[in-house]
């Protein structure tokens, strides 16, 4: 059968078997090997990608079921050559050791921060509770996500200050003085 979906902003069409899993379509057909294939039983979470904006375990979604939907993989985190703050956080805080769980962890973390920009440690641990780090590096993973949240909050505050000063300037220019 033929399937068409949007992957990281690009429309892709492929000829597939109905039984092909999304994780294998991404890795073997599209060469997007950033998404890892782990337990195959929806327990470990390394295969997490977004489908229509929500994290899903791609070992338990058929490629056919993703037809017509928007998929975002770990390769789609980087925008215009800029690493996503979550990726920067994992770099800064040693969020990975062997790196096998990392793509799923980062996709779940990105979704969490989009919904809740300032999560508590408990909320972060709850969000990644469907994912397994066999290096047991959870403390640094949590710290990496906290780094991303803090970094994004700081960037937003800076942007707000910059906007405000522009407004003040323009008022000053147009004012009676």
């Amino acid at each position: 059968m033929q399937v068409t979906m949007n992957v990281n902003g690009n429309e892709v069409t492929g000829e597939i078997e109905a039984r092909l899993l999304l994780v294998h379509y991404l890795r073997d057909h599209l060469g997007l090997t950033g998404t890892h294939w782990g337990c195959d039983t929806s327990n470990c979470g390394t295969c997490v990608v977004w489908m229509d904006g929500e994290p899903v375990k791609s070992c338990t979604v058929l490629a056919a079921m993703a037809g017509g939907r928007k998929i975002r993989t770990v390769e789609g985190l980087e925008q215009n050559g800029q690493l996503d703050p979550v990726q920067q956080g994992f770099t800064e805080c040693h969020g990975l050791q062997c790196g096998f769980c990392t793509p799923g962890m980062m996709m779940t973390a990105r979704a969490l921060l989009d919904r809740k920009p300032n999560p508590s440690e408990h909320e972060i641990r709850e969000a990644i509770s469907g994912q397994i780090c066999r290096c047991t590096g959870y403390a640094t993973i949590v710290r990496s996500i906290q780094w991303a949240a803090a970094h994004e909050a700081a960037s937003a505050a800076e942007a707000a200050v910059a906007d405000a000063s522009v407004t003040v300037d323009s008022v000053g220019v147009g004012g009676p003085s």
Partner: protein, 301 residues
């Protein structure tokens, strides 16, 4: 590498379309919603089928949670996350939020549906125990129309339901009764696992006495049956620790767990008793709290 046996994929665009496809393809076809129960079984070749009908496009039609004055109606495509996040549902049946917090994990909850969960009819499945506890009924639609069955009639045994060939579950209905509340507790080995044992309780009060109560257990028998003997023992009684303990003893005696990697029969009976006590206690406490915080409503009703 786990791969399902070959099959043909169809995608339904409406409930009528899905039922039409089921009617045409017969027993060789199965519906798939979230897929987190069915696909693993297909990978293990425990389920083999010729046609798989994807009903995820029916979420717009069947993804609702409607809290009405006398009942709650939940469309079969409502996803776990939607049930977890519904404040209106948590208000009338806090048992749903209790249970949804411990069903699978957040990523799986993005996909799994109430319809898929209860049609899987796994004796360890938590939403089945919730629906049993609340005395829910299931609306099953086929080409000749709809029929409504109670949870007791819905479950025919492990992995067997009243949904026949050419039919689909479209809605779960739960009656709302005044002065009631509910709670759910689960013991699991790790986050996201199936229950070692789970218990749900729902209690309704008339003044200082219990007018009705129901308890449903998961993972301790061939299905998530309610325990009528507990309801009989609690009706007309004033809530007390002794009464909860008595209900716990009945729960432990009534269930039929088996020893497996999750625990021994003795341990599971102990959990059935303990979780029954805790959920009854919490249900009653919630009724008291809602009376204190919303006096107008309880006095007026």
């Amino acid at each position: 590498m786990q791969v399902p046996a070959p099959f043909e994929y169809e995608r339904a665009t409406s409930v009528d379309h899905a039922i039409g496809l089921l009617g045409r393809l017969g027993s060789s076809a199965r519906l798939v919603a979230g897929g987190h129960s069915l696909l693993p079984m297909m990978k293990l070749r425990l389920v083999n089928l010729e046609y798989l009908i994807d009903i995820n496009d029916l979420h717009d039609e069947l993804g609702y949670v409607l809290v009405e004055s006398s009942q709650v109606r939940i469309g079969s495509m409502a996803r776990h996350r939607e049930l977890l996040e519904s404040d209106a549902l948590a208000e009338v049946f806090p048992i749903f939020r209790d249970a949804e917090q411990v069903i699978a994990d957040p990523v799986v909850r993005n996909r799994g549906t109430i319809g898929g969960s209860i049609c899987q009819a796994d004796p360890s499945e938590d939403l089945s125990a919730v629906c049993t506890t609340l005395g829910a009924s299931c609306v099953i639609r086929g080409s000749s129309g709809e029929r409504v069955v109670t949870m007791e009639d819905f479950y025919r045994g492990p992995y067997e339901t009243a949904v026949g060939d050419g039919e689909m579950l479209v809605e779960v209905r739960i009656p709302i009764r005044a002065n009631g509340s509910s709670a759910y507790e689960k013991v699991e080995r790790r986050a996201g696992d199936w229950a070692v044992v789970s218990a749900g309780a729902a209690v309704w009060m008339d003044g200082a006495t219990i007018s009705d109560a129901r308890v449903g257990l998961a993972a301790v028998g061939p299905n998530t049956a309610g325990i009528p003997a507990i309801s009989e023992a609690l009706r007309g009684q004033v809530p007390s620790e002794e009464l909860y303990a008595q209900a716990g003893v009945i729960a432990a005696q009534s269930c039929v767990p088996v020893t497996d990697m999750r625990g021994s029969v003795e341990y599971k009976r102990h959990l059935a008793a303990e979780l029954t006590k805790r959920t009854l206690r919490r249900s009653v406490a919630r009724i008291s709290r809602s009376r204190r915080t919303a006096p107008d409503r309880t006095e007026g009703s």
